[in-house]
Symmetry: C7
Subunit: 249 residues, 7 copies
């Protein structure tokens, strides 16, 4: 049988396999790979987050599915993976942000908040009786010197990316970025690049109604989510650009 | 054997399967699929809840089986799945509503109450020694700006629907809604649509004595359950409308 | 093998089966099905409880086996299933009744007491390290407006019945009730109906010495157990009525 | 294999079998069935306890093996099953008796003390991490109105008997009682009946040195154990009565 | 296979076997059977303890292996089985003895101290997460009325013996006692009887250097261990007595 | 099967194998062997740390992957193995360093800090419900008398090395050190030796952008990480030295 | 299969095997048998400890591997087995020594300290969720009357030896001692005897750089470790003595 290599080492986070792997942590990563595609891109003048929510039924209020969250005035988060786990981590991040305001009277940095979430997630990979978090966060930030896009991965590798994606469409999106990403693009160009990548990951299906876009710019350092009209305009440009190359399946 | 794919990954909520799934949470969802059919519909002037209680013995006092609960003056809940679990969550919701009144001197919003229940349910999917809740709630609300119908799903996806159903008849009911639901229908039309869907889900069996109907309107923002007479009138209309197409089994 | 469908999902209350069932809770229900037959009947002027204790040895003091318990002046309980579990729940109900008297200076309602027992039993179906209660209670009550017969089932469905039974003879008894129960019968008729049903369930064996009968009437709202003489008279009527149709095994 | 029916449901007290049984509790009952034979008999003027201690080596001080314990001035207990478990329960009973004296300034009734022991034993059949008690107590009492012989069985059925036995010789002894017990016999006759039954259970072996006899009479309501001389006299009568019918194995 | 009868019932103290046995407790008893041979003999004027320590290497300081311990001025203990467990129980006994002195200003009786140790050991046979004690104590005592030799067995049977032994040579020693023990022998004769039995149990090997002998006499009621010279004299007598019958293996 | 030798002894840290090994601790060591290569070299005038971070995607900000951490002004740490575990231990080390400053008003020695981390890691190899740390630290220090390079290994052997490596390239690096290390080399020579070894371990691939180098010198006793320019210069020397011998795969 | 005899009784310290053995404790003993060879010898004027550290790589600072520890001014300890466990026990011993100084203002005796460590180790062999210590200590002491060499074995037998060894070379060393040890040898002769034994255990390999020697003399009662020069001189004598008989492998 093909399950033999694991031989039961994959039933608990407190058990290493003979080759030093923690299978449960790797399996939790699979939960993220099956999630909605979330994208983050660093532009010259800000950072951009995009999520394709993949809703099909007309009976669902698309606005009620939230995949991009405001953490504080200056920080947002795009999530993928188990929805309930994501909500739990977002709540934690929000509390950390408020604690920082009260304790030090200043805004928390995205690096600090990312490390705190990572440390929290690490404990869920070392002690028995719990499971690891099956979710992943993209955390952008724009301070006056640098632009950050921190990705809080599983089990808890903290990485700064120029542009990346998590979730089901990750491979397709990253392929686009490896080819077309340029560090000098502005926010508008970054949004279009992200939508183009999502368009390809979804094989030509792109619906302004089920897209969420969040932006934080160097200028005002405020994280805000774009309104449906703004998103619609960008989507329109992508659809026109790809006309003729659309996937007809 | 056909059980091989799970290979024991489905015996505890603290174990991910190799493809990142939490089987115990998915199995708990099955408990809901085997429950009574509960329906929620958003109308232009209110929200409607309906439950078909499926009682057969004449020795049972139908009134003693409660599937639609008053959470607070302005919020109700329709439940499906494990009865005891539903009671436990409803109690929790009621306490949250009272705490909000005392703490802030205002009525709790359905979004807030739904999130609190979801967060509570999430913890039952991450820690060992417990099982996930095997129940599902439909939570309607009517504030002066919007009409909400929040569905607190398993493991804990919080979704706003225009019209939806949970329980054994879900597929049959949703099929009716996908075809006939219109956002501009009023409360009366919504009740009739819901009864019609339940009539089809139950293959033509509809008994006013075993139906519960709850309504909250934009006008007075009070959640109330309809009396047996009111329900009887609506059922009569459905039975007449469907005369000739009745299921004779 | 015929055990295959469970595949180990039935070894703990914290594990759902793939089709969303809690086998341990269902197995606990079997403990009740193997218990003594306990019967409850709502009459027009009161509620009646009967238990057939099934004692065979002449060395046992029949009076020492108690299956119908006084909870408070106005509430009794008939039990079936694991004896020790029943005692534990009865004690809990008695405490709740006294707490209500002290806290609110009024008698507790049977609905309130039933819900409290149900909530208590629910926790024994969700947390590991314990087993569900293997017992069932019939709780009658008579307030000045209504007559109640609440049945506190497993895992914890709270149902009001007109007439019902639990334990080994349940099916035989319910069959009699479905045929002969009338809502306008008085207490005396209800006792005779119950004894008749127990007579049939026991295949013609009925011994006044091993029967317990409890009554609460609308008039005085006091729960009391009938003396051996009273019970003997009723049994005599049943035996005479069934003369000729007796089971001769 | 013949073990198949249990299929592992018998490894923990927190697991019901598919037919609603708690095997671990039933197995604990087997520990009692393998214990020394303890007998209790209600006479017209008192209650009698007898235990056959089955000692064979001349190197053991028979007096050091205690199977009949004084609980309070007016209550004794005969035990069978695991010795250490019996000691633990007897200690508990003694404490309950003293607590009653201090709290209410009166002697505890045997019914009260039996219920307290039963409630204690019930908790050891519902929670994980412990095993049920593998012991059984016979608790006699004589108040001015009634004579009691309470038997505190496993898992915790509380029964009042006229005459009964526990332990290895139970079946042989009960057979004698079913035939020869009369409610009007006095203490002396009850002791002789008990010894006769033990004589038959032990297949003709009866040694005054390894017998314990305890008595509580209606007259003085004091529980006392008979001295070796008294026991010797009774044994002598039994041996003479059975002369000629002795077992020669 | 020959292991089938246990079928896994022997892996935890919290699991009864179908015939009501606690295998783990029985296995712990085996640890004692493999221990050094410890002997206790009641004489007319005192009690005697002897242990054969079985040391072979000349590099070990025999005096550092202690098998007979002083519990209090008037009580000693001979141990067999797991050494570390014995030390733990001896420490407990010493504390109990001191507590008794402080609380009641009198010496503790051996019966009291034995019961306290037994109660302590019982808890290790009922709760999970621990193992039973794998050790056994012989506790002699001499008060002004009686001479006691209490044996604190596993799981916790408390027995008074005239003469007995525990450990690997138990059977051989007891055989000698059954034949030659007389209640009227004095301390000296008892020591010689014990050494003779150990001589036979060890098949003719007896070394004064590896023997421990403890004595408590009725006269002074002080427990003391004999010096090497005293022990040597006694051994010499045994060796001479058995000359010619020595084991030559 | 080849898994037979472990026979399940490798599923928990609380289980020894028959030959006295703790497999889980050995498996955790494998996690380190699969980590990035970290190198430490003691020079005559300081200690040097080098890590090759192995980053391939141009979308990752290499600077965000930190493998060499500042513990205090005078101590650094190079890590390999599970990233989250390393962060957890580094945090612990930093706290210990600050505690030492506050408590004793002096800098903590590397020996003290290493022992504290080791003691902490030991507890994770003896108690159930956790897993061992899957990470390893290299801790250099330079006090005015000696130069130290402490390696805090798994399970927790504390060793001082002249030059060593952990992680995937350990064997290749150590081979270079065994041949070419000299105790009298200065910091510059040590850096070049380390880079040369990493060059060979990576089979000729060496990128200044993904290398981290940390240095603490005897002169100023400050731990500092080299800037990208400094690292680039050293890499250039290695590449030129190895020109012609480059790996072309 | 050859594993059959254990049948799973060797997976937890809380499980006895049918023949009364604690396999996990025996397996822990194996960890000591695989450790470095530690030797202790009692001389007429002091006690000597020697450890052969077996270091091969020239990159390791031999001085950083410590196998002989100072416990207090007058007590040392030689260790073998799991390094981290040894450190943990040594720390405990040091604390006990300091507590004794503070509480009683006198030096702790080696017998007291050994018993405290043994008691501590015993608890790790009786309670679940931990593993036994996989290490062994040799504890020498010299008071003005006696010379002690206590060996704190697993599970916790406390023995005083004249001369003994633990670890991989134990058998070879003890063979030398059985032949050549004399109680009247002085410290110098004891060191040479120990080195000679280690020389034979290591099959002719003996390196002053990887040997540790500790001494406590009757004269000054201070435990001290010999400097490298002193050790070198002794080694030189052994090498010369064995010239011609060297192992050439």
């Amino acid at each position: 049988m093909q399950m033999a290599p694991q031989m039961g080492y994959d039933r608990a986070i407190t058990v290493f396999s003979p080759d030093g792997r923690l299978f449960q942590v790797e399996y939790a990563r699979e939960a993220v790979k099956r999630g909605t595609t979330a994208v983050g891109i660093k532009a010259a003048d800000g950072v951009v987050l995009l999520v394709d929510k993949r809703i099909t039924s007309r009976l669902v209020e698309a606005a009620s599915i939230e995949k991009i969250f405001q953490i504080d005035d200056h920080i947002g988060a795009a999530t993928s993976g188990l929805v309930a786990d994501a909500r739990s981590l977002v709540d934690r991040a929000r509390v950390e942000a408020q604690v920082n305001r009260v304790s030090y009277d200043e805004l928390i940095g995205v690096e600090v908040i990312s490390k705190k979430i990572c440390d929290h997630k690490q404990t869920y990979t070392q002690y028995g009786g719990v499971r690891p978090y099956g979710t992943c966060l993209l955390l952008p930030d724009a301070d006056h010197l640098h632009l950050w896009l921190y990705l809080c991965l599983l089990p808890c590798t903290l990485l700064e990316y120029k542009a990346t994606a998590i979730g089901a469409g990750r491979n397709a999106v990253v392929e686009v970025f490896e080819a077309d990403y340029r560090e000098d693009m502005n926010i508008e160009a970054a949004i279009l690049l992200g939508l183009d990548a999502l368009y390809k990951a979804a094989e030509g299906k792109l619906d302004a109604g089920t897209l969420e876009v969040g932006v934080v710019s160097l200028q005002d350092k405020q994280f805000r989510k774009l309104g449906p009209e703004e998103v619609g305009n960008y989507v329109q440009q992508i659809l026109e650009k790809n006309k003729g190359t659309e996937n007809k399946e």
